[in-house]
Amino acid sequence: MAMTAAILAPDAGPIPTIVLQGVARVYGSGESEVKALNNIDFTVQQGEFVALMGPSGAGKSTCLNVLGCLDRPTAGHYFFQGVDVAYLPREQRALLRRHFIGFVFQGFNLLNRTTALENVELPLIYRRVPAAERRKRAFEALAQVGLKGREQHTPGELSGGQQQRVAIARAIVTKPAVVLADEPTGNLDTTKSEEIMQLLTSLNREQGLTIVMVTHSNEIAAFAQREVHFRDGKIAYDRPIAGAQAR
């Protein structure tokens, strides 16, 4: 509760984007109970670039689902910009995602047979942005990720790296409070991975975009400022990445 007080205190500096407090996520019950997350505490400040790391099954993906309000914790608190959103009903969580969160997935998850432009427009349609502004912002977002001139290409006509750029454009077009990336380079080769990571770091540095990224690769995590290491549903360590500021 001390943490809550700290958040609500007016003189505690800027409100952190994300605060997890004693968060647990338990699947099943009794004998077959699995604690995917076990009493997690961590904070992401606005403008941070955090890598969630750990072996598979350690809980990093579950954690990202909770952060993205796709899943609800079974215990604890999740303060999103100071508001406890852990147990909101389905509709409210959807609205939260719509207005504050952008997603980038390992498998790109673009709508196929749909142009890059229309893919990027999609979140704006749900936000009821008028058509003219919607187009303008989608064009801008695609330009930002270096896809100017590819607006009318469908995912089938784009390389993996370009598809992930479209996905990033879709995530940032709404100017979200945080972008959650789940293994964003998992399906890409080393060169493309590096390009995507450079894009994310530049968005983080130049636009002040807050990014929380799940990865199991140290090389990819090295692009972040801070790594949170998961093991068996708990945070094993949480530390700044050396040399992150130097790049």
Binding site: G68, R97, H99, F105, T114, I125, Y126, R127
Partner: protein, 402 residues
């Protein structure tokens, strides 16, 4: 809200154009069938009534034979005679003219051509009463009626079969055993609503047919035209009474003759076509429902196939009701569009049929409206279950779906 939903739905349908078109097909066929059946049924019904009444709606047909139908058993049919004809003409009030006739089936021969047809012996009253005219030559004159010489007027079919395009007037054909000069050709009447060819006839003077071809003085049919001031049904009753008296039929006994009123027949026939149309429409409506189930089926499959897409939408922040609305609107767009195309195809088909079968082409706006609204309703009803399934997906599961 509605524009957003329409936008999302249209973009989704466009992505899978082929599937969208195939989904629509069931509804297109169902609606087209309903529209075609109803439109053709209405046309056929009208055509039957108008053809029957084209015989003349102030007309009675008097035929010997029982009203019960079926084979006449052992007893021969008691035919009419000339006295019966005179009695109908003189004693029944409300009758303008009486046309007695006798028919016999014959083979007509000209040169190398022969043709199976029937010859009808008629009097001069036949032409006005039956509303007949000639296109070539002339009708019979008094001399023809009285002389007993066999002359004839042939129908268009008989002319085509025996003479081809040649003018038959003045030629002599053989009817059965007798030679017969052709003096005219009848105006074509085409197919009757009962399906028989009204142009496959040979007309000849009554007395000549009786003496030269048949060999007795029987009259096998009487047509009587009813005066314009008289009522068909009342005159019919009077004719029946007269014939019962003349034929000594006891109070208990059934008539051994029939008096038919074409307007009555027209009524019965249009009733029959009406029932038939209703019946066929019901079958067609079943195909519409089947089309709707087809839509539900494809939508359900498509929800499974589009699980990932739905996951993306939900993750991006689509509400459950927005996904529901999108899928529902997709279904309604498909069925409504299918309805429009079906109406167009159905009307086109029935127009073609009406041209081919020379029916009138009558579009019933209420049926078109009904088909259109029904197909939209099919979309709502059969789109709901798949749409709800899509909306209730768990985004995490849906995104993991391969």
């Amino acid at each position: 809200m509605i524009w957003n939903t329409l936008l999302l739905a249209f973009r989704a349908l466009r992505r899978n154009l082929m599937r969208s078109l195939l989904t629509m097909l069931g509804i297109v066929i169902g609606v087209a069938a309903v529209i075609a059946v109803v439109t053709m049924g209405t046309g056929a019904s009208l055509s039957v009534t108008s053809q029957v009444s084209s015989l003349g709606d102030k007309l009675l047909f008097i035929n010997p034979g029982s009203n019960q139908g079926g084979p006449q058993g052992g007893s021969a049919i008691r035919q009419f005679n000339q006295k019966d004809v005179q009695a109908v003409a003189r004693e029944v009030s409300g009758i303008d003219a009486v046309s007695p006739s006798v028919s016999s089936s014959v083979t007509a021969v000209f040169g190398n051509n022969n043709w199976q047809t029937s010859v009808t012996g008629v009097t001069e009253e036949y032409f006005p009463v039956r509303n007949m005219a000639v296109v070539r030559g002339s009708v019979f004159n008094q001399l023809h009626y009285q002389s007993g010489r066999l002359v004839c007027i042939i129908g268009k079919t008989v002319r085509e079969e025996l003479f081809g395009a040649v003018d038959p007037v003045g030629s002599t054909i053989r009817i059965g055993i007798a030679a017969c000069e052709v003096v005219g050709e009848l105006e074509s009447k085409g197919q009757s609503s009962f399906g028989n060819d009204q142009d496959n006839v040979i007309l000849a003077p009554l007395r000549a047919v009786q003496s030269r071809l048949i060999g007795n003085e029987d009259i096998t049919a009487i047509s009587a035209s009813v005066a314009s001031w008289a009522d068909n049904a009342e005159v019919k009753v009077r004719v029946e009474q007269l014939m019962r008296d003349r034929r000594n039929i006891g109070v208990q006994d059934a008539d051994d003759f029939r008096v038919m009123d074409p307007t009555e027949i027209a009524g019965v026939l249009s009733n029959i076509t009406g029932v038939l149309t209703l019946f066929l429409s019901a079958i067609a409506a079943v195909s519409l429902v089947v089309g709707g189930i087809g839509i539900m089926n494809i939508m359900l499959v498509s929800v499974t196939e589009r699980t990932r897409e739905i996951g993306i939408r939900l993750a991006i922040g689509a509400l459950e009701k927005e996904v529901l609305a999108q899928f529902l609107v997709e279904a309604v767009i498909l069925t409504t569009l299918g309805g429009v195309i079906g109406v167009a195809l159905g009307l086109l088909a029935s127009y073609a049929a009406s041209q081919a079968l020379s029916f009138p082409f009558i579009v019933s706006p209420s049926v078109v409206m009904f088909a259109f609204l029904f197909s939209a309703l099919v979309g709502v009803v059969f789109g709901y279950v798949p749409a709800r399934r899509a909306a209730r997906l768990d985004p995490i599961e849906a995104l993991r779906h391969e």
